[in-house]
Symmetry: C2
Subunit: 696 residues, 2 copies
Amino acid sequence: MAHALDPLLKPRSIAIIGASDTASRIGGRPLHFTKEQGYKGKIYPVNAKRETVQGLPAYPSIKDVPEAVDSAVISVPASIAVDVIRDCAECGVKSAVIFTSGFAEMGEDAAQAEISAIAEESGMRMIGPNCLGVFNISHGWYGTFANAPSMIKVANGTAGIISQSGAYGSHLFLAAQSRGIGANYWVTTGNEADVDVAEVIEYYAQAPDVDVILAYAEGMKDADGICRALEMARDAKKPVVFMKVGTTDAGARAAASHTASLAGADAVYEALFRQYGVYRAETTEELADVAYACQFGRFPSGNKISLQTISGGVGVQMADASVKRGLDVVPLPDPVQKKLKKMIPYAGVNNPVDFTAQALNDPDLMDKNVSLTIDEADYDSHVIYMASVPASPFTHDVCLKIFGGLQEKYPKEVLVMSMQAPEDLVRTYEAMGYPCFDDPSLAVRATAALTRFGEIYRRGRPDAPPPLPNGALPAPTAAVAEHEAKKILGSAGMPMTKEGLAANAEDAVAIWTDIGGPVVMKIASPDIPHKTEIGGVLLNIDDAASVADGYTTLIERANDAAPDARIDGVIVAEMVSGGVETVLGVVSDPVFGPAVMFGLGGVFVEVLKDVTFRLAPFGIDEARRMIDEIQGRAMLDGVRGAPSSDLGALAEALSRLSVFAAENADTIETIDVNPFIALPTGAVAVDALIVPKTET
Amino acid sequence: MAHALDPLLKPRSIAIIGASDTASRIGGRPLHFTKEQGYKGKIYPVNAKRETVQGLPAYPSIKDVPEAVDSAVISVPASIAVDVIRDCAECGVKSAVIFTSGFAEMGEDAAQAEISAIAEESGMRMIGPNCLGVFNISHGWYGTFANAPSMIKVANGTAGIISQSGAYGSHLFLAAQSRGIGANYWVTTGNEADVDVAEVIEYYAQAPDVDVILAYAEGMKDADGICRALEMARDAKKPVVFMKVGTTDAGARAAASHTASLAGADAVYEALFRQYGVYRAETTEELADVAYACQFGRFPSGNKISLQTISGGVGVQMADASVKRGLDVVPLPDPVQKKLKKMIPYAGVNNPVDFTAQALNDPDLMDKNVSLTIDEADYDSHVIYMASVPASPFTHDVCLKIFGGLQEKYPKEVLVMSMQAPEDLVRTYEAMGYPCFDDPSLAVRATAALTRFGEIYRRGRPDAPPPLPNGALPAPTAAVAEHEAKKILGSAGMPMTKEGLAANAEDAVAIWTDIGGPVVMKIASPDIPHKTEIGGVLLNIDDAASVADGYTTLIERANDAAPDARIDGVIVAEMVSGGVETVLGVVSDPVFGPAVMFGLGGVFVEVLKDVTFRLAPFGIDEARRMIDEIQGRAMLDGVRGAPSSDLGALAEALSRLSVFAAENADTIETIDVNPFIALPTGAVAVDALIVPKTET
């Protein structure tokens, strides 16, 4: 079935409005490139001042073009752009690529809103304004004035590039080219009056000729769109490698001044990427390197890596890099080590396998070496370091023979090559199926990325979030006290301390009796969120007289400190001892809605900011992954002889909180469940705060 | 003055023992390369079976060579190598490059010890055995069988490469070549029977034709040598960029199986590198990239970075990368922003300065832009992102003019270029003085490295360690109890809790009276290191009766739990409250001797392993840098309204501990001062343990 963006990305006919006879000018380039590169469809240059443009008959206006083209490039001044766009829509043009700048990026929001409205009313799809356009190499279509198409070296690939920024899009294309990535599609979305980065990712996720997606964005405005797109890409097992900038204050400041885009808090983007298995690259070099490896379409089925090297020192480096990136450099089984030792007595045979340069004297050995490791040990990936040996005139041919044979013999194994060789030889090894890396540590980095994608694809769709329990209370629309917040969260399935609200001292004693052990007493008031600051909490009380006294003391303190506060009474709650303090929370992102936070209490949150986020709602498996991500994770396994925590209960609580947050997205501003105590069996919230959105 | 390694690295005459007539053979390559590359000295091939070798008259043995050559390459089988080496020494050969393998790397330690002894007795300097040799490009000297010399593209540089591993040395040379680094010297040390990595670094530190040092090692055996070498390099302001592998268990396992080298614990190497301002690279790509930037010899005088870009999106990336690497993306002063805005109304002018592609229409603007930023704002470095603009035929010439002019106008500014351009154009910009980077984030990484070197060079030599106080006690040679350990460390100038050792209950009460506040009571025994486990600690005791009872209780508990333990009595110590718990420690490294550790108490050490090390002894400034390195650093500034800690007292204690450890290096195995409490004013050790070395 045709996709809505087909007219934009595979147009059967095009018009170029503002076409220039000079190939080097902005309005001349699309025509020049498209003509040169064998575009098969019909091309209509639009230029009122000329009979012909670059040898083709010109039309005075889009209205004079004899057919409703699939795509029109609009390269006209801002003053007339809106009229031209409207003309296109009226003529039934199916899509437009708008180079023109001078819209939202310069504060001209009204003009941009106007063209968004045209898109919506007419159904004409639109890319830009203020963009560098699109191209599709295999289609011969270059709706762009970027220079990049004049520098294509690697064509016929299955990568798709999508970049909000045109300049960065060009940069990324060239970086991808240098790295040997065949990027067929290239789209820059600019101000995103209609089509955005998310929709293009969705297109790539469905396009049969795209296998890997390289993406860049500064901010996103359509949460559902990007989630849907990333989910489709994940389901289609198409790796998305993403550069999302603005992670620091200085970065965010620059992002705000750059495009008319809402940069969400970075933690939320981090959550999004983790949730949908996106690889977030920190540099363009990393983005290109990882996407390059993904092109080969083989993903390890586990994290056990075998390292084969002609240099012991490089073996050590690769081992370091593997461990750092979570790969398991498991030693070869003893019997295999013995066999290897027999073949190459001086080899290191543990893993890394250091077959030493001597193996070159008897090249069959290298073949046997690798074959043995594949056949008799259980590794998921293999990185082979060959230095410049495959490029040396003495060993060039024999290496080609060995490695050609190996890849043929093991077409499904993930075999990654690290070697120093000229570009043409690298292309030869790539054609044989080997991703090739100059730097052995970066070969390992890419293998780790492939391994992660493999894990994500094996895992498939995450668990469904649990249903909200019957009778769950809604989130409050005005401030509520702790005991109310707990009642609400408890109704949503989160475990809460056993407690009661006492209206007088006798009540308090009765609740204490009922609990049957030491209690905590806390003032209950929606107007006193920070109870400890006014002495509003009493710990470890365990006799009737003290409970009764405690009631009176707390009421007095509250009256003294906050005479106008509404006092609901005093909470009498079981005293929880032991366990590990954690913090669960919810924040509401203006674009993505509620995101759930997890961290450990105390210095972990306060000093180390050791927290992780996910977009709500999510299931228990995703919650388990959150728990595993934090730096202080070992605390939950029990430190210094402490018992390990009930991770299942913790994960369920996170998941249930996410469901509650998602159901009440419109009313919740933030939730703090702090502390939430993870016990050896079960878990329990000791305090909770729900802050509703202020009405606007 | 001549250096001891001159005969090895700048020989005036050479012999090649085992010279082959076939240029491609191991014994043929040194002769072939050296002859080809214009070596000016005399060459004597040694080969008993031929009249001539590669056209030169051959000599049957080194004894027949008519002069005592500066350097002899030894390319003979292991069976005769020792005899040949001895012959060389007897003939007065000044240095030898020993290719031959089959020594310590194969467990033949005796044979290797024999050649070490020859070196020592004769004074003949020796590189190898089991090495790939050396070369010096400008000298035309190739005492190597590596392939690398046949692939030299960038010559006449001022970089020196030193690698323990020959294979990795070749890899590094090629990686450096690809990155545009002119490495003139190249040395691989192999088994290091005589010359080691440290001595070559020392040579480079003194060599007038070396400015940057690229180093690789798996382990080191001469602590003084490497410290001296790195100190000389730092004093000479020659950056050392180091790859030291074996950081993880898997890595260390591979290192142990690779060379006959003692791999010290990685924490100690990390300490060494931090202490001497070495840049430790994680990948070869990073090593080459940073060394490349250092070649230009300009180091920022502070960490304020200005970012100039033709792409807003890339500006954000560079800002992110800057902040992540500790650079300060300080905004431009308001008046400068106003002037820029006047010149380019649509530019982002905060920092990053986004002069947009429009600046290309009026190239003078770009010049003015950068000039204004340099003249009127106070930045220490500038990274300029130009995408592929300098390579485009339309803008090639104008860019050359602008950037040529800028560098001429500001010859001392650190101007770093990020652009995508072909190699020859990159060489042109390099010749103009610009370090060039494809990737803008990596341009920032390199600028951060230059900034760090700048800081280290400005700082100069670190403070001298404080003297050991008069009357400082020596470290014990047998186990001592806590109170003894404290007395010893106190005598060395570390602040200790006020306390006394009570021999009976009355003593205990007297000490409590003297202290004048709540006390801690602890059993004192050299045989009970873990006192809490036997109930040997009582906290917060503050009346005479409890103190007296406490004494009896502790003695009873000790007698019950450890009937054979020697009991010195009971420690009565002031109870320290408040402050931040830290941990100070000493470990003894077999190569580097005592190293001092610093960390925060509790989860920071137990869960996060958040500690840092320095080799003892060191001064107070180095101790301050240790404190600033830990992740939990903010704890010492006061969290949640707590007062900030006395960093001066903490640093002094670390420094004094290091002096004590260095003075007693032979007797100390480990020291734990845990907890050491950092107070708002002062600091104090609450517990201390000194473990002496067991006699061997």
